[in-house]
Symmetry: D2
Subunit: 314 residues, 4 copies
């Protein structure tokens, strides 16, 4: 059996796992992320990996992070939450660990994991959307992860939905992320709780009467209890995401679309409206075999599992 | 030297060429297309191919057409202009020709030609848009043509630009094709010629004073002569196409975008506004290496050359 | 008691009524409209009026038609369905009838009727939308009908909802009429019946299985019987109209909005979603007294009653 | 000769003027605004008025402020910058001054001034847009100021331009103010100065290299010196405003549109693109007499002059 380590570097914590060739996580470690000091992050990753590989030698290490990674999977070109700019992470870590290292965007890694071991393991062409605070994603075509000509492909949250639309964190107007993300869910819920407190009263009660205390998990919990206001908010999100998946399908024509991320865990409350919207908006309806839209299976371990597997097949 | 034949089946004519392994067209044949009779089309293709291969044996035959082709490149699932529905073209032609045959979407074939022998021969990741009556296109990632999980990928003209927008021939509202195609160019030019004849007077004079006589080539010719109204129409088209390329780049991150098709031949009049619009709309501006947007080099022979090459590497 | 005659000139028929000063229609006449011959229309109106006034002298005659009427209420500047261009209708009719005549846009006349005798008789500021094949309307401010500086005000169906949106009959893109009219209801219902026949099966059954047989009254009837597909179509229409009313309210701040026209007779199926959409989209929510949105009371006699009253107060 | 006093209450200062019946300002006073204390504002207004009326008795006093004023022109219902909520300003001031007082929205007052003494003095139907930090405005129909059924009419900056568009301060998405205001001008200029510093280099140099130092007057000054980036920014603003005026014209059909406010002083740099955009977007082009779009003539004294005149004709 061959083993690799996957490391998922987030803004507040770093998680690492020893992963076998079936995508099983044999052992895990986790620690706080020293987010603002690149060198300290390298040392922290080194410690986590050494702990995991103490009694089990591994072939390689994969590191995933939210940000742009170059085509050679060596450099983090830009990672807004980690203060990384053109950070040669592969070289630093290979010096630290004396093991082969690859670096990958976290949503790409999660897509790869779902493709290899999860909700898309039966197909060759997959599109994944991770719906969390933002909207990320990854694309697999003919069994290969799409990294793009410069390593920046798969930014599915930044297709434009509305020209002149809501400002996105990327600087553009009207990105899918501006309408289909957890941040959008919270923004709209809070606005309506202020302007239409009667309709939002159930959700407001859960938030102690304070609109600014409304969070994504609170909306999902209320929707799961049948609160019509919260159900409507998730349905709106699903409607936008379905329109986005329709546009992406015109270009990519995947066999399966996998919806993951924290908001994606809302399940049918999000996925049913998403499917309905997709079916109304996809081009050449009635002339194409219908893809399946499925929920992710690997949860938030996906990134770590995916990047460990990508390191194996580097 | 190895030879193959490429056949481009259009709504009104069928063109065929004997192509060598450098993409050179050694000999050509062309005839009227018996568009409404699938069996007659097979026979006509057979005659063209036999003429071309009379003195020069070939390895294989590639056939391109505007329409959806299945994943196996054997069946035309839907071709609106050719009255084909689930047409097993590969099997019929292999029986007719006793040669290996592959079938491909025409815009995919053109993209492959530009990638292999034309404006994108120096890169591995290419996006092509063919701007003609409609907007077609093709995508090459890591040196492979993207065909999609069901063979229907690369329909870049059918990404949604405007929710609730102008009706598209595909049944959707607001597709890129509704704003960035030759048909859109003509529609807008005619409307404005009716409602604002003073501004359009130069173009109207070329159309004999009749707005319904305004055509795409007429607008391009007027623009090339400096007519400000016509220049503005092509700039609008470029603006929409630049927004579309920006969305496609978020997903595909190509090294090079190639603009072809009849309207694409307007050159800088279309491409300069397209580039400017792209730069204003692409996500992560300033944090990504900038792709190049280039004009196609192979003209309308691209489809034929591309499908001949795809047949060689079947 | 004072009497006037109101005449409503439509594309296919002409209706006339003898109206008292309480807006009661005492007698009616109706005939086919010789739509393409302006002179014949004048003679036909003359015959209808003479029949009605045979035993009852009247003060004046008002004529309403779909089209632009000049500020002096004398000339039909443009009436697309009646082939009128700069037609001096007032002069021709006064010569024919030897009575004072005024001409008015039909939706303006209907708004005036609802304001004076119908759903808005208790307020001073009213906005009416007539939702039929198109979307017309009229505006009353401080008890006066808004005719506009050139007589062309109140064209509430031609505010832009979606930049670059669905083409409108007026030549613009994205007008309210493109989304909120009976024509839009039919267009969307037919499209979906083709692309998603399963969801539309109830409606299709009523149309004998033929999507092109779907009409506005058919959708309304299906919705009244609880067909979920038809209910959803009217709710969409209401959603667009609510957004339009929100924009109009920012400018006009009416006390009451009256919804009339053939589609408006769908009642709560249209008005409830319209109200909900309005409340979500109106500016300064929570800081403004809420207007009421009411159904029209006078039905399709409104135009005739309104123009008769406007003739009285000429 | 009859005199009245006009008082313009802003967020940072209060200006007052003694105005004759020709709209001439005979004497002026100005002081800091004690913005957070409603009672102190009443006393400050009292002092200004007494100073102006010391040697010249007046008939009445008009007070204008940015905010919603009730139909009776007595109460400020909501004034975000002045901390006023349901403030009975008329009653307090009449007790303080022993003179008749009316209260009016400041943009309404400015529109009235341009109608009575300024750029619209020759017409009966006028629309004014004040393009400053936000977009305000006022409407005059048949020689009467449109106040709305609840006193909240004329909020022309809050018509929706883009469904799902840029968030507006009013809580809505996609208002005209989100695209056509000085705030929008600064937002877009700063964003582009960050993402495309090469194009913005002229403007950046004026801002000392710091995008956050870019202001509206800086953009206007650069545009007046011919800087192409700044010219393009004002043209964009004009394009949006032209679309907004087109929608407003469908409803109101004014004879003249007056553009005022600080940004409006950019003159032809704003008004030429605005006119061009209007002509492309107005409904029934070619079938309507064309209104004129003019620059305001009274500058920032308009509010004070207008409210003084409204007090005279109370």
């Amino acid at each position: 059996m061959s083993y690799t380590v996957g490391v998922d570097v987030g803004g507040t914590k770093i998680a690492a796992g020893l992963v076998d060739e079936h995508g099983q996580v044999i052992a895990r470690e986790r620690t706080q992320s020293p987010a603002t000091d690149p060198k300290q992050i390298v040392r922290t990753i080194g410690e986590l990996v050494r702990t995991l590989t103490d009694s089990q030698p591994v072939e390689a290490v994969g590191v995933s992070a939210a940000g742009f990674v170059d085509k050679a999977r060596a450099m983090v070109v830009f990672a807004p939450n980690l203060a990384w700019r053109d950070e040669p992470l592969k070289r630093f870590l290979e010096e630290e660990l004396e093991l082969p290292v690859i670096v990958e965007n976290d949503a790409n890694a999660a897509a790869w994991a779902e493709f290899t071991f999860g909700a898309g393991e039966d197909v060759e062409d997959l599109l994944m959307l991770t719906v969390g605070t933002g909207v990320g994603g990854g694309v697999v075509i003919d069994g290969e992860l799409v990294r793009g000509g410069f390593g920046m492909g798969g930014e599915v949250g930044h297709i434009t939905m509305v020209p002149g639309g809501v400002v996105c964190g990327c600087g553009n107007l009207g990105c899918l992320e501006s309408y289909g993300s957890g941040r959008a869910l919270v923004r709209v819920s809070r606005e309506l709780a202020v302007t239409d407190p009667e309709s939002a009263k159930g959700l407001l009660a859960r938030a102690g009467g304070d609109p600014s205390k409304i969070t994504g998990p609170l909306v999902t919990a209320a929707a799961q209890d049948g609160d019509p206001f919260a159900v409507a908010r998730l349905a709106e999100l699903g409607d936008w995401l379905g329109q986005g998946v329709a546009t992406l399908t015109a270009v990519l024509d995947p066999n399966v679309v996998v919806i993951g991320g924290g908001v994606g865990e809302a399940g049918a409350l999000l996925l049913d409206p998403l499917r309905e919207s997709f079916e109304r908006h996809v081009t050449a309806r009635g002339h194409r075999p219908m893809l399946e839209i499925r929920q992710a299976r690997l949860g938030n371990a996906g990134g770590l599992i995916g990047v460990a597997d990508l390191a194996r097949h580097r």
